[in-house]
Symmetry: C2
Subunit: 388 residues, 2 copies
């Protein structure tokens, strides 16, 4: 059977996206629909993070103004300030659908993250009762002396997944953005309440792609060829508990490519988040972690899945599996937001080199206030495009 | 026994250093002596690389002008243009002491590197006869479809080491800048003609330290905590065939932190080496690979070795083992260049934030012509310093 030239996909849903705040949010939120997504599950790691139902609902309301045709779902940030009472409040309004857990310090705005899960068992009990989902950023904080580093932090985390799942077998849990063969096996071994998001960039990248290459650097880091193969295999298999969470994570270009300046040199800027300020004042800058895919998301997924022989699983990956897991698979929900894809005709559908907030066009590239984001695969060709 | 406050080290030698060309060479060559090194074994990956005895000798002559009190040894770059005749010529003059092999594309200026060793067996035979050393950058080029990536490229290379060593058991071979436990075991399993350099930065760094942190990014990449432990253990053991090769590899700061610019934006610069020029012109910049340690080298080694209980091995690591392997351990060679180290008194011996060529002081930090290098551990304190 020859490959199709057109596809119809029922209401794609992105179950892990970062839509930021302020001017950045103004830029990226409309990109959700542009990328083909009609249901977006939004992460809470704002500054400060979303810890109350009221704040989450207010945030979703702002997002809705920026993109009225997108259905946004909110999450709360798991931290000591969260109470069972707040869980009940959040669940009642139907806008917050989950609680996101970040191990402390493993990624953007995660300094308030958790260190030990038993302290949160009362929260998990309430979540189980209220039918909220626990979203786990599944990495242990690095601890070099104990042998934990970014290459094995996910593997080392899996014991926590099993412990929580065994203690709360009715609690829906999603292991977010799995990047390893071991994580895939661990989720498969769990019961039906455990799901797993896989990002499109992790279906493509390996460690080489971010070694010295900031645009492809994200957390959890892309791993080995054998890990990428395991992620591809589980998507190709159509396993129902694995689905799209883009982890689309926009950063200003100036934070992906920070300008290193030295103490006392012209143009020294004040220390920014992520800087290690050394005793003598040299600013040793780190590159922000995150890959940005929202504006090209569903065409990117189609292109990638086709590249490893899984195009027939596209609807499962970008829509049906996740919607079924989260309970947003009613016929009317699947119908509204259906998109058509067609194979691109050269020279169309080249990924734009950059997206810039209109108010920032005149700013310099090195200005950290310039809301300018370079997408994944900037300048590369996608094999599929959305038919308007 | 309490820790000493002073140490006398016989003529430290660095068996793997990059001294570049032009203005950069003017800046970094005097740093060799500043770091306590009296014998420097210099790598040939210039542009173009050193492939003839005459070019190597001319290069060494330039280096000697920049640092008259340093003894420089040269290497030739293994490539199809090298002939047994050139090997004989090089060996005869006594300035070239080895031939460096780079697998194609694995690091700076390695595009002309090798792909298959059997084609070089006539060269290796002549080297064995002439008593030249084969210096191996021990990584296979990445080949994702075959499962080879930067995290296992060194392990995958080891079969080549064994094959060459078994075929030429009298050829002295050095596996350069080993970064893995497996490489350490492989070298130990070889005969006495196989040595191994270990850099100080690989005694400290793991993958986390360069993930999104360009200053610590080098090739071969720093690996896992267990690998770092294996490197520390073999140095602590004093194994005679493991010794210092700094792989000190200076790059202009603007190449460690390239400015990403987008097509048509103000200040777009012409594509530079290492850029991927995308079809639409966005310049997706990669960060240059290399850690710079020359100016602080022996104090850094002392500080690091003490940190993992190996201070008693300092003389072996930075001098005796390497000198014995290469045959530069005559009493007069060991005596000339002897240095004294003392424990630093606060607040002295903080690593400078940057080294700048005097001619470049007024240039902007983003200018790739600005010869400005940030050293390893910029702004951090060293526990030891050289007594002048």
């Amino acid at each position: 059977m020859s490959a199709p030239d057109e596809l119809t996909i029922p209401s794609p849903a992105d179950f892990h996206v970062h839509l930021r705040q302020g001017a950045m949010s103004e830029l990226v939120t409309p990109h959700v629909g542009e990328g083909g997504i009609s249901l977006a599950y939004v992460m809470p790691n704002l500054v400060p993070p979303l810890t109350t139902a009221a704040d989450a609902e207010s945030y979703i309301s702002q997002l809705h103004k920026l993109s009225p045709s997108t259905h946004f779902l909110a999450t709360l940030y798991l931290s000591p300030s969260l109470t069972p009472e707040e869980i009940r409040k959040a669940a009642a309004a139907g806008i917050v659908r989950g609680v996101k857990s970040y191990p402390r310090g493993v990624t953007t705005n995660s300094d308030g993250g958790i260190e030990d899960y038993e302290t949160y068992y009362p929260i998990f009990e309430e979540m189980e009762r209220c039918n909220l989902v626990l979203n786990l950023h599944g990495e242990l904080p690095s601890d070099i002396d104990r042998g934990i580093c970014v290459m094995n932090a996910e593997h080392e985390f899996l014991a926590h997944l099993h412990k929580i799942h065994n203690r709360f077998p009715n609690l829906r849990i999603v292991l977010e953005h799995a990047t390893t063969a071991k994580a895939v096996e661990a989720v498969k071994a769990c019961g039906d309440t455990v799901g797993c998001t896989i990002t499109p960039h992790h279906l493509q990248l390996v460690v080489d792609d971010w070694a010295g290459k900031p645009l492809n650097f994200c957390k959890p880091v892309a791993k080995l060829p054998s890990d990428r193969q395991a992620l591809r295999d589980v998507i190709r298999s159509g396993h129902p508990r694995f689905f799209l969470g883009s982890d689309s994570a926009p950063h200003p270009l100036a934070n992906k490519y920070p300008s290193a300046v030295t103490h006392g040199a012209p143009g020294v800027r004040p220390a920014a988040s992520g800087d290690d300020l050394e005793p003598t004042g040299v600013i040793a800058c780190g590159c922000a972690a995150g890959v940005y895919t929202s504006p090209i998301l569903v065409p990117l997924c189609a292109t990638l899945l086709e590249s490893f022989g899984a195009l027939d699983q596209l609807a499962n990956y970008v829509s049906l599996n996740g919607r079924k897991f989260y309970g947003y698979d009613q016929p009317d929900q699947l119908a509204k937001g259906t998109i058509k894809l067609r194979r691109t005709q050269a020279p169309s559908n080249v990924v734009p080199p950059v997206y810039v907030h209109p108010k920032c066009q005149a700013m310099g590239d090195g200005d950290t206030d310039k809301v300018q984001v370079v997408p994944f695969w900037a300048g590369k060709k996608l094999a599929w495009e959305i038919v308007n």
